[in-house]
Structure formats: structure tokens, C-alpha cells
């Protein structure tokens, strides 16, 4: 299977199963598109009539195509299907926990999927140090021989419980020495409570920090507000600048959410880049059905244009990274990771303040998806087996999608919330994801072509 598309003046062919990417001229673009359905005679006639190719040119092109086929880089077969049943039987270990250290928030963002930190559970609470330690112990005990372990301090707003965050980091760092583990901590914050002391601690101990802001002041302040309804842009921006600079503009993300109110979200990304931020991420709002800010069907063409515009602008400016366009074609994930996905409910779980375990942060509060607790371990094995069986081959809609080895079948929580099944697909999100992958790959092609020109 191949995927052909044109973007920013480039003709691009993705060989879906091998992951090979080819930049081709118009004649080759047509020839490869026709190759499996038409005879070489018919293709030659088309190329001669349309592009003025000679018979010799055509034969040369067919030789190139045949050579790539022989190398397994064009029209390659899906040879990975046999891996899927093995994945279900595999012994999984837990390597990452999202700790909801504060099921509470000092903001009241109108689109929050966690309903201001409460996760639809109608109560606000902070994780105790005892439960946090139990979670760290649980992770170590269930991580087998896995060396790199990840803990994300999440909420709500995790800085509402910063003393526990600090104590848990120190506890885990003490433990890792004796257990041959390497903890990587991340924290996701709205920035309201950031101060010099906290920034120093984050810089000294955290692998990554995610800073939430939506872009332009009027966009941010429309939905990202305090409990009294006041916009937060002016409060958080100077803190985020200081945080990003103090980390040398590395190992952090400025992360925004775009909604129906800013379908021109490229402007928000560029605004943040103009402010000097170098690591940016912006995601479409989810779980907003029926809300005025929810993305609409008619927004899709506009959103896709915005992704195109962003890619072109990034190639021109070359002064910031966009998370979804950061794709490493040579050093990306192996095929096992690409087939099995993010590890939701198997390698990755979320822990509530009371110690309950859920498949990920987006399932918290849905009692049917409670897997167990850090005190009792995994009790709902039926549910955890369902997640083990979740891979690109369990989503029928993915069978013919070129993007499946880039998104691994998509986000299970989004699929569940939009279709009622973790084996469904969130089609709207798929449309956007496919566009992002096309843009990311176009940028790689452009960089490669530009490197050739300058060499």
C-alpha cells in the first residue's frame, strides 16, 4: 500500500508498510499511482502524452520503481500482522504513571476534560504523601527489568500539592539507586503558582515541563480563566518565559488547546514563537460535544489549511519546534511500538489522589474503567486484557489508513468517548492527525531537498 499526496510543491509517496518516503517528480507521481492498476504500456502512453517522456525515459522510470519494489521500499506487503497475536499474549510491565497529585485546580478553564480537576467525581482532593509513595513503590515493583520509568505530575493543578511533588521526587530518586531504575519526571502546570523556588526544583529534577497557555491574550483569556472568571495570560506569561529561559529553551513544551473560537490557531502558535518560545505544542479540544467551543465539521478544511500554513512558516523561520511536526524518520520508534500504541492500560496508567488506578488520565472518574489501586494492585484484569488487545489491527477503520504506523491506531480514550469502544476510532481526530503527519513528512522532504541544493 502506498499513500500519495502533494504538499507545498512537493510530490510525496509514503510506502505505508516499510515506512519509506519518496520525493518524486510529476511523471513518477502519476506512474506510481497507476502502477498496480494499469499496464506499463498504458502508463507509458500517459507519460508520453502528458509529460513528453520518451520510451527510454519510461523504461528507466519503471526500472527505478521495480528496484524499489525489490528493496521492499515500494508496494511492500504488511509483514507485521503476525506480531499482533503475540502482543496480546505478551507479559507487560508498567513503566509510566500519571499521578493526579491534585484533583483540584486554581483555574476554571471552560473546556477542561477533567472538569476543573474533579474528573466528574464531584470532589476535590489532594494526594497524600503516603499514597504517592505507594504509587512509586507500585511502579518499581511492576516494572520488571525496565530501567527508564516515567512519572508525570498532573492534575488538576499539581502545584497545589507541590510539597508532595517534591517529597515524591526525592523518595523516587532515593529508591532508584537500589533498584537500578532511572526516573524521568515531568510536570504539567497552568503556571499560576510557579515561583523561583519551584522553578529551581523543576530545573534540578524534571526531565520535561509542560506549560499550558493557548496563545494570543484574547484567545487564552476567553477560556483559560481563574475561578473568578479573570483571564490568566498576564499572570502566567512572564513566569513561562522565565521557566523556558531558565531551561535553556530545552526540555519543555508550551502547550495550548485550540477550539472553534480560534480555528486560525496558527496565529496563536506564531504569537508564542514571536514571544521567544522554542518548543511548542497545540492540540485540538476534545470531549466538547454540544459545547459552543467544540470543533465543528465545517472547521476541518480551515484547520487543515492552518497546519499547511504552519509547516511553511516553520520551514521559513526555522526558529521553533512544533511537537506534532517533530518526527524522526531515521530514529523513530520500532515496529512493536508502532503496532501496540501508547501503552494505555498496560504500560501506562493514571493514579487518583486516593490511589485508584485507571488506564490513563482521560478515563479517570469512569468507574467501569477503574483497574484497581496502588494498594491492591490490578483487580479488573478483564479490562486490562482489553487494552492489551488494543493495537492497529484491532481498529478495522485503520486497515487502509496510511497513518496507522505513525499514530498506532489513535488515542483509545478519544475512541471510547466518541464511539463507546476503545477499538473504535475518533474520526475527526484522525483527519487532523493525518494532516499533521503529511505536513511533518513534507517538512522532512523539504529539508532533504534543500540540503541537496546547498551541497
Amino acid at each position: 500500500m502506498i499513500h500519495r499526496y502533494k504538499n507545498n510543491g512537493y510530490n510525496i509517496i509514503i510506502d505505508i508498510n516499510s515506512g519509506s518516503v519518496h520525493s518524486v517528480d510529476e511523471a513518477a507521481y502519476d506512474a506510481i499511482g497507476m502502477y498496480e492498476e494499469y499496464s506499463q504500456y498504458e502508463i507509458s502512453e500517459h507519460l508520453k502524452n502528458t509529460y513528453g517522456l520518451t520510451e527510454e525515459d519510461c523504461q528507466e522510470l519503471f526500472s527505478e520503481i521495480e528496484e524499489l519494489k525489490a528493496q521492499g521500499r515500494l508496494f511492500s506487503e504488511d509483514i507485521y500482522k503476525g506480531i499482533a497475536p503475540r502482543l496480546k499474549k505478551r507479559h507487560t510491565v508498567i513503566k509510566a504513571l500519571c499521578l493526579l497529585v491534585a484533583q483540584d485546580c486554581n483555574m476554571a478553564c471552560k473546556y477542561c476534560f477533567a472538569s476543573e480537576g474533579e474528573y466528574h467525581q464531584g470532589q476535590r482532593q489532594l494526594m497524600s504523601l503516603e499514597t504517592g509513595k505507594k504509587a512509586i513503590d507500585f511502579l518499581i515493583e511492576n516494572s520488571g527489568t525496565r530501567k527508564n520509568l516515567e512519572v508525570d505530575f498532573f492534575g488538576g493543578e499539581p502545584l497545589l500539592n507541590f510539597d508532595v511533588v517534591r517529597a515524591l521526587v526525592e523518595y523516587a530518586e532515593e529508591k532508584e539507586k537500589n533498584h537500578n531504575k532511572n526516573f524521568r519526571f515531568t510536570i504539567t502546570t497552568n503556571g499560576i503558582l510557579l515561583n523561583d523556588e519551584i522553578m529551581d526544583f523543576i530545573n534540578g529534577h524534571m526531565y520535561n515541563v509542560v506549560l499550558s497557555i493557548d496563545g494570543r491574550k484574547e484567545i487564552n483569556d476567553r477560556l483559560r480563566v481563574t475561578r473568578s472568571g479573570k483571564g490568566t495570560y498576564d499572570t502566567i506569561l512572564p513566569k513561562f518565559k522565565k521557566m523556558a529561559d531558565s531551561r535553556g529553551q530545552k526540555n519543555y513544551y508550551i502547550r495550548g488547546t485550540y477550539t472553534h473560537y480560534n480555528t486560525d490557531f496558527c496565529e496563536d502558535i506564531l504569537h508564542l514563537a514571536d514571544l521567544g518560545f522554542r518548543q511548542l505544542s497545540m492540540e485540538p479540544v476534545v470531549g466538547a460535544e454540544g459545547e459552543p467551543y467544540a470543533l465543528k465539521e465545517e472547521d476541518l478544511p480551515v484547520l487543515k489549511e492552518q497546519y499547511d500554513k504552519l509547516a511553511v512558516e516553520m520551514l521559513r523561520r526555522k526558529d521553533f519546534e512544533f511537537y506534532h511536526y517533530t518526527i524522526d524518520l531515521e530514529g523513530g520508534p520500532c515496529i512493536y511500538k508502532r503496532i501496540s500504541g501508547c501503552g494505555v492500560g498496560t504500560e501506562y496508567m493514571a493514579v487518583t489522589p486516593s490511589g485508584d488506578l485507571y488506564p490513563c488520565h482521560q478515563f479517570v472518574g469512569d468507574e467501569a474503567y477503574k483497574l484497581g489501586s496502588v494498594y491492591e494492585g490490578i483487580k479488573n484484569t478483564e479490562k486490562s486484557e482489553e487494552f492489551k488487545d488494543c493495537n492497529i489491527y484491532s481498529h478495522r477503520e485503520c486497515d487502509n489508513c496510511f497513518a496507522r504506523l505513525y499514530c498506532s491506531g489513535g488515542c483509545a480514550a478519544n475512541a471510547y468517548h466518541s464511539t463507546g469502544s476503545i477499538k473504535g476510532v475518533y474520526e475527526y481526530g484522525c483527519e487532523l492527525h493525518r494532516k499533521r503527519i503529511e505536513c511533518a513528512i513534507m517538512m522532512k522532504v523539504a529539508e532533504s531537498e534543500n540540503a541537496d541544493k546547498s551541497s
Partner: protein, 47 residues
């Protein structure tokens, strides 16, 4: 004249032979939280 330029990519078939160590970062620990961005991750063994 070559009409096809192949961009260097990881050989996924080869990765089936040696891959699967699981040491790479969980995508939702970076900047996702609401989408699945596997391809944006880096292989820990190829760093």
C-alpha cells in the same frame, strides 16, 4: 535521470528483529495528553 528521491527512514522490518525493548518514552508524558503521537517519539537505542 532519477525521478525518485528516497528519503532516509528507519527500516521497520529490521526493527522487528531487534526492537521492542520498551525503554522509549510514553507519548502522553511529553506533550500530548489528548492524542496518540507515537511517531513523535525517539527510539532509546538509536539516540
Amino acid at each position: 535521470m532519477s525521478r525518485i528521491k528516497t528519503i532516509n527512514t528507519r527500516n521497520l522490518e529490521q526493527s522487528a528483529l531487534k526492537g521492542g525493548c520498551g525503554e522509549c518514552q510514553t507519548s502522553c508524558q511529553s506533550a500530548s495528553k489528548t492524542s496518540c503521537s507515537i511517531a513523535n517519539q525517539v527510539c532509546e537505542n538509536l539516540k
